[in-house]
């Protein structure tokens, strides 16, 4: 299908909105009625047609507006995009991976023409037509990682693999769930995950790291992660927390359906061929509670998950104070009926709300 790109904002007047298409394909992150951290990884080899899993790098109706928001964040704070000196080759790897994937997966939107080292990249939605020399930084307006991630939805961490660990040595991070690239850059897998509760004790990070170290070229993996955000604000950075934190206190029983958003990250993992690095795209999807409630299965399930979530997780994810109000709202959409397994909404087969 051809994508109708929205003209919308993720700040100030928050005109962000999801079409019916976007709601239906929203990556609801709960495959059952409860949630706990787990090593929830699977191969990233496509998925149901139209789902966010189908393509290697999903492009949706928010593309152009998200890229505009990223440019604003980077203009305000260039430290959101950093690459340690040894990471330039990995940046070229990433540029190649994205250009090849997007031009193959969306030939109507992106074109890549390669003639030896001379590459021509056409990005129709953003109106870009650039010719450059592969592996020659002076022929691009930015470093290779910054160039391509200014044209690709989602945050990107580029990891160096050495000493049996992964090191966050480069990244473009403007749509993060409250963590700082500038602070974490140079850390290893266990260090940047240090603030996460419960998961270290469960051995989750040790097992996850083993899995990641063994990811092979051409065999990417994926997982979902989630949190909660008041207003469709992409840039929930610690850097700006003193400005946006107060928005969490603006929820009321009347506005919660529209203002409270479930924030889901589709995280993927790709091995990079020349550098042997790993790239970790973190693609953020937002959906308001009221839009989620249009899927009866999601309404029932979200209520149960939020209700039963351990205090440590609700605190870490930053919504412990708002949880009671969320539950008052969500309980209206839970009639106690069972839910079908899996994350998909099953709109045609799940019963309508019985109250």
């Amino acid at each position: 299908m051809t994508i109708q790109f929205n003209d919308e904002t993720f700040r100030d007047d928050y005109s962000f909105h999801n079409s019916d298409w976007a709601i239906k394909r929203f990556p609801f992150p709960f495959h059952e009625d409860s949630y706990m951290y787990a090593v929830n990884m699977e191969q990233h080899r496509g998925g149901p047609e139209g789902s966010v899993y189908e393509k290697r790098f999903d492009v949706d109706e928010h593309y152009i507006s998200e890229m505009r928001d990223r440019a604003m964040v980077l203009a305000d704070d260039p430290l959101r995009c950093q690459s340690l000196p040894h990471m330039t080759l990995a940046g070229w790897d990433l540029l190649e991976l994205i250009m090849v994937s997007k031009s193959e997966d969306y030939p109507d939107l992106f074109e890549l023409h390669r003639d030896g080292d001379t590459w021509r990249w056409i990005n129709k939605p953003l109106g870009i037509d650039d010719t450059f020399t592969f592996l020659d930084e002076t022929t691009l307006p930015y470093g290779p990682m910054e160039y391509i991630t200014r044209q690709t939805q989602g945050d990107f961490c580029v990891l160096d693999q050495r000493d049996g660990n992964l090191w966050m040595d480069a990244g473009t991070v403007t749509t993060q769930a409250d963590w700082s690239l500038d602070f974490d850059i140079g850390m290893n897998f266990f260090e940047w995950h240090a603030p996460v509760p419960l998961a270290h004790e469960k051995g989750i990070f040790e097992r996850a790291l083993k899995f990641l170290l063994n990811i092979q070229q051409g065999a990417p993996a994926r997982r979902l992660n989630w949190t909660m955000t008041v207003n469709p604000l992409l840039d929930t950075s610690p850097e700006n927390y003193h400005k946006w934190g107060v928005q969490k206190t603006t929820l009321t029983p009347e506005n919660i359906g529209a203002k409270q958003h479930l924030r889901v990250e589709l995280q993927t993992f790709f091995r990079l061929p020349r550098s042997n690095g790993l790239v970790f795209p973190i693609r953020c999807y937002l959906c308001s509670f009221q839009d989620l409630m249009t899927m009866p299965k999601w309404g029932r399930r979200l209520h149960r998950v939020v209700r039963d979530l351990p205090v440590e997780l609700a605190t870490y994810k930053g919504f412990i104070d708002n949880r009671p109000m969320m539950l008052d709202y969500l309980s209206q959409f839970d009639d106690g009926l069972p839910t079908s397994p899996g994350i998909f909404p099953d709109f045609d087969t799940e019963p309508a709300l019985q109250k």
Binding site: L79, G186, M187, E191, P238, N240, T249
Partner: protein, 198 residues
């Protein structure tokens, strides 16, 4: 002086050990304040004959005691910032097998460790021992300014003036802990400061 036992913490927070003399042709010891005592605890005439000590007294009177150990080289600096170019210079001609010993405050050890790592010294050749003040070097995540010697939680950022709480999340690259606005969700509601480990 007895050593402070840091409570167990998260995985980005550094842990410190106890200095021990290691075999090696060259030894570089960098310390501030009470860190002098960690050096005195391992000093022997043989070790000192191959040791360069860089010491920042910070109001203590250990400098003469260290000097009387007769190290091969001794430098007393007024502040870390004043000493850092010398530290870099010394690390630049470090030979393979140089042993690096860091002792004193977390801020001193963290910054000197960074210099040593940047000079290519493997971290296995760097030892640390905490002595003296438990104050922290903090980075304000909002304005990026560093506030040295923070003893209380919360504290006021010395650059932008925000009230920050003291996290345990630590960046080796910055040699600093992270400070985050404490009253973002309830402006003006700032609890009375307490000692970080109280």
């Amino acid at each position: 002086m007895s050593k402070f036992e840091f409570p167990p913490s998260i995985k980005s927070r550094p842990v410190y050990g106890t200095l021990e003399a290691r075999p090696g042709k060259g030894h570089l010891m960098i310390a501030d304040a009470d860190g002098a005592e960690a050096i005195m605890d391992i000093a022997t005439p043989d070790l000192m004959a191959q040791t360069h000590i860089i010491y920042i007294p910070r109001g203590t009177d250990f400098a003469d005691k260290l000097r009387s150990l007769n190290p091969a080289q001794f430098y007393e600096g007024p502040t870390y910032a004043a000493s850092v170019s010398r530290i870099r210079r010394v690390l630049q001609d470090a030979h393979m097998g140089l042993q690096v010993y860091l002792a004193g405050t977390e801020g001193l050890m963290g910054q000197a460790q960074n210099e040593a790592m940047m000079a290519g010294i493997p971290h296995t050749a760097i030892q640390t021992e905490h002595r003296g003040s438990t104050a922290r070097r903090m980075q304000c995540v909002h304005c990026k300014g560093i506030t040295e010697d923070v003893e209380t939680d919360p504290f006021v950022c010395s650059h932008c003036g925000l009230n920050l709480f003291v996290r345990d999340h630590y960046s080796r690259r910055l040699a600093a802990y992270q400070g985050v606005c404490i009253d973002a969700e309830d402006p003006g509601n700032v609890p009375a400061p307490k000692g970080i480990y109280e």
